[in-house]
């Protein structure tokens, strides 16, 4: 009897916990988007747009790959220092 109750309680914890985690992260996502939009609007100079091209062309593909590698390496170095 008590055990059954406990499982029900645990399921309630799950509902509450997952709900709060998702709510928290969802609000965070919205805030981050708003923040990004505001910053892009009022401090635009430091946000250069990286042109994005559709997949298909092999040369473009190669370029994208190189760009990704460069980005990853620079990020890694930055983290390291």
């Amino acid at each position: 009897m008590a055990e059954v109750n406990n499982v029900v309680e645990a399921l309630k914890f799950m509902a509450l916990g997952m709900g709060v985690v998702f709510l928290f992260l969802y609000i965070l996502v919205v805030l981050v988007k708003v923040q990004a939009a505001l910053i892009a609007k009022y401090f635009p100079e430091n946000t250069p747009k990286i042109p994005t091209t559709p997949v298909g062309n092999t040369v473009e593909d190669e370029n994208r790959r190189v760009a990704a590698i460069i980005a990853a390496v620079s990020e890694f170095r930055k983290n390291k220092s």
Binding site: A10, F13, L25, Y26, L28, V32, N46, T52, R65, E75
Partner: protein, 444 residues
């Protein structure tokens, strides 16, 4: 060398036996085993056999094999909490724990599984199992360390500060919706909570165990200490060993839940993130956690402070200390302190088995939930999302992101998912801190 040691110990054993039989023969009324007294007494002349006997009784060999001396467990809270050890705990149990410790050494050194944590934890465990030394007691080295920073939850917070100073939120800011993947992976925590309750743990212990599914060592220690301090050792060891096993546990689950076509999806390059966004982000997280869940502010506050110091760009000295010197020092203490819970009398209990199993389920469930969530997002999102990055939602930073990247590039050489996986990965850290806050708020 070994032969010599065995010979010496045999010699001692023989001397002890002969002297004991002599003692019984000479004086039948006196107790056979002389009590080792710590009080100062007038020195009485002793025969060489008596000296050897009393020495023998203080050796570790005697303490392990002849266990009738009423040795007590060592408790960092003080003598009042001590109890007498059972025969098993002070003999075979110790030998088993020492073998386990050497297994951990092997995993750390030969297999390179989280050596930074496993070495201090395992060595702490070795020290804690020394007979008669009382290292884990109130005045023993491990006990002092334990009281200094684990009993009051200080060390996990310092670790969080360092992790904050090491974390780059750029990838998350560039693609914010991947944060939801870090939320989905927290299903590992709550799903295994239900599982733990089903196999008979009470709600509070089950909550402490299931936090292993968050794959976050400091959070696990923080929660275990609040909700189930007796299980701290097993929970910490489970959390860190599963974190070390990320490269082994995760890939099969990731492959099982995704199709080849999904695994080769190439994601768009992330945009450049403005410095100001990174600077404001820790404040946003902190304010949000204050409003929604003040219970989790110790963890998130320390994390936000570390990250803010890093992103401010003007206190490189402080942020450098947090990322390196401070976190290293705390790791040493945290490891040794947790290791003190590897003493046979605390670790070799039935619950440990359950904790290990639940921990594994929690970890796998978290990975699976992250991948499934990523699949759903891929279905409904305009931009393609590789479902593999969902597995990085468990907060083992940056290991699970690396694993994702590795699996991704095995499927399609040149497909670099690392940056995309870092988003859910750091969101997972926040997510598990939030989940921890929810659990704490329930048992307040």
């Amino acid at each position: 060398m070994k032969l010599k040691q065995i010979f010496i110990s045999l010699l001692f054993a023989m001397i002890a036996l002969t002297s004991m039989s002599q003692a019984t023969g000479q004086d039948a009324t006196a107790p056979v085993v002389a009590e080792v007294s710590t009080e100062k007494k007038a020195y009485e002349p002793k025969t060489i056999a008596e000296l050897a006997t009393s020495f023998w009784q203080t050796t570790g060999i005697n303490a392990i094999f002849d266990v009738n001396d009423g040795e007590t467990t060592s408790e960092p809270k003080g003598h009042a909490y001590e109890r007498e050890m059972t025969w098993f705990e002070s003999s075979l149990g110790r030998i088993m724990m020492i073998l386990i410790v050497f297994l951990l050494f092997y995993l750390a050194i030969a297999k390179n599984f989280e050596p930074l944590l496993l070495i201090p934890i395992a060595f702490g465990g070795l020290l804690a199992n020394i007979p008669l030394a009382g290292m884990g007691g109130e005045h023993g080295m491990l006990g002092i360390i334990y009281n200094m920073g684990i009993a009051n939850e200080f060390f996990p917070l310092l670790i969080f500060m360092g992790v904050g100073a090491m974390t780059d939120f750029g990838p998350l800011l560039a693609n914010p919706k991947t944060a939801l993947l870090g939320g989905a992976a927290q299903f590992g925590i709550f799903g295994s909570l239900v599982g733990a309750v089903m196999i008979g743990f009470d709600l509070q212990s089950a909550s402490a165990i299931s936090i292993i599914g968050g794959a976050d060592g400091p959070t696990s220690i923080f929660i275990a200490n609040r909700l189930a301090p007796d299980m701290l050792g097993a929970i910490a060891v489970a959390a860190y060993s599963y974190m070390a096993l990320v490269p082994v546990i995760q890939p099969p689950i990731m492959r099982a839940l995704t199709s080849k076509a999904e695994r080769v999806i190439v994601m768009k390059t992330t945009r450049q993130v403005h410095r100001l966004e990174k600077l404001i982000f820790p404040i946003v997280v902190l304010v949000l956690s204050i409003l929604v869940l003040p219970e989790s502010t110790p963890l998130i506050g320390a994390f936000a402070f570390g990250n803010f110091a890093k992103e401010s760009g003007v206190v490189d000295r402080l942020s450098d200390t947090m990322q390196n010197a401070l976190i290293n020092i705390v790791t040493i203490f945290l490891g040794l302190g947790v290791g003190s819970k590897l003493a046979a009398d605390k670790f070799l209990v039935l619950e440990t088995m359950g904790i290990m199993i639940i921990g594994l389920i929690a970890f796998s469930a978290g990975t699976a939930a992250g991948v499934i969530m990523a699949k759903i997002m891929n279905r409904f999102s305009k931009e393609p999302i590789n479902p593999l990055i969902g597995a990085a939602g468990v907060s083992a930073v940056p290991m699970s992101a690396r694993v994702v990247s590795k699996v991704g590039s095995e499927e399609k050489p040149g497909n670099v998912l690392l940056m995309h996986a870092m988003g859910p990965n750091v969101a997972g850290v926040i997510g598990s801190a939030v989940a921890a806050g929810v659990l704490l708020s329930i048992f307040k």
